[in-house]
């Protein structure tokens, strides 16, 4: 089938589309900060659990 351009090629992105996509990018950047915090929190929790387990073994 012939690949011929039958629709206008030149498209201008509307401000509202740019604004909403930029908002999504900001959310992603923000989320990665939260993800790092969450990861650190999980590491801290696992360290506490490991220390507690070690203490439990020492006191048996």
């Amino acid at each position: 089938m012939e690949e011929k351009k039958v629709l206008p090629d030149e498209i201008e992105l509307p401000e509202i589309v740019l604004s909403k996509s930029n908002h999504a990018f900001e959310m992603i950047r923000q989320e990665s900060v939260n993800m790092k915090k969450e990861k650190n929190r999980r590491i801290f929790k696992s360290q506490v659990a490991a220390i507690a387990g070690r203490l439990f073994q020492l006191h048996r």
Binding site: M1, V6, L7, P8, I11, P14
Partner: protein, 168 residues
């Protein structure tokens, strides 16, 4: 797909947020064209694109072959667009562009051309002629047989020809 895009996809899969944003920006105009072919207004298109960006970021791990990124993303976008249509439960008709709102003053010629063809032919016409997808790829994106896509393209092309008043 060029090597830079493949590189960005691989970086994005490794949670490189700046690579992901750059990757989306490369495809933003095509995302908009796809969204307009289904939703026919800029505000809804913006919402669907925003949701798609977030969905793609969350699901980047599930993309097995970087070569299929655009097809994969287009399918996600299409699903968000149809979700938006279902939620609104509004049939978008041609009259919408006779009096465009402030947000819809962009790309009038493009929207009018799409408006001139029946709703079901708009997306395949845009994907084939606007973005250079192959019939097989459109068939996968839309979950329709290739022969159906060919029929839609043929009928849509005839309607567009009437709109332009010429033979396409």
């Amino acid at each position: 797909m060029n090597t830079e895009t493949i590189f960005l996809i691989k970086r994005a899969q490794k949670h490189d947020k700046e690579a992901f944003c750059k990757l989306i920006n490369i495809h933003l105009k095509d995302m908009y064209r796809t969204a307009i072919a289904i939703l026919a207004n800029d505000e809804d298109a913006g919402d669907a694109i925003q949701d798609t960006i977030l969905s793609c970021w969350e699901k980047m791990d599930t993309l097995k072959n970087p070569q299929y990124f655009k097809t994969w993303m287009t399918r996600i976008l299409m699903n968000h667009c149809y979700d938006a249509l279902r939620k609104k439960s509004v049939y978008v008709d041609l009259e919408q562009y006779e009096e465009p709102s402030k947000n819809d003053e962009y790309n009038i010629e493009f929207k009018e051309a799409l408006d001139s063809i029946a709703e079901r032919y708009r997306l395949p016409i845009e994907l084939f002629y606007g973005q250079g997808y192959k019939v097989r790829e459109i068939s996968e994106i839309m979950s329709l047989p290739q022969n159906t896509i060919k029929t839609y393209l043929s009928r849509g092309r005839k309607q567009l020809a009437k709109f332009y008043g010429e033979e396409i």
